[in-house]
Subunit: 124 residues, 2 copies
């Protein structure tokens, strides 16, 4: 199996490519016990998380990752991932800085799912 750094990079690339092309397809990455905190809004489970992500008030979005760091999060193969970056929505010219963290857990079939997801915009 690939090391945690490689898995983290592959996950982040896949996640934002999917987010920026078709947010509906992110459902494959969550499970019913997954948690999302998006700004101040907390959601539990694939359906509530997808409703939140697909309902965000923009049509197009482009994430640009600036930094990506990862650490093992437990002894069962979990991976903690932290991203900082910028995003552009719709016709907006000025990117917004954000930071996002994920805990990825093995799903038992050789893949990973998102157990924890916290997203925050950075102001100032």
């Amino acid at each position: 199996m690939a090391d945690f750094q490689t898995i983290a990079r592959q996950f982040v690339e896949f996640y934002y490519n999917t987010f920026d092309s078709d947010r509906n397809k992110l459902s494959a990455l969550y499970r019913d016990n997954s948690m999302l905190t998006f700004e101040t809004d907390a959601k539990l489970g694939t359906k509530n998380i997808l409703d939140k992500l697909t309902g965000l008030p923009f049509n197009s979005v482009k994430h640009q990752v600036a930094t990506l760091d990862a650490q093992p999060s437990n002894e069962s193969g979990g991976i903690l991932v932290m991203v900082t970056g910028a995003l552009l929505v719709d016709e907006e010219q000025r990117p917004m800085n954000y930071t996002q963290i994920f805990q990825l857990l093995p799903d038992g079939t050789g893949s990973f799912f998102v157990f924890n997801d916290i997203f925050k915009l950075i102001y100032g």
Copy 2:
């Protein structure tokens, strides 16, 4: 036992108060399997982490927390904590934005220790 949100808030307050008053005392919060990623520098274990934190090139620092979010990180009482904020070092007038995440794990005696710690400055 207090809920995870309360523990996260108490931890963050204690962590930065300790960091800003006497960084040496942070050693009580780490264990030999703790991981720190400080910007691009990765450290394992209490001694290496403390050497890094106490060796940072400033005399005084003041952290100001802007946002604090937490989620349970496993079924054994672990807590994932994400902080965004600003910090001022020495005579510098302009605060630097940062984001920091921790995974806290129960230490078996009713307290928690820092298993994962990732710190990044936010530019731009």
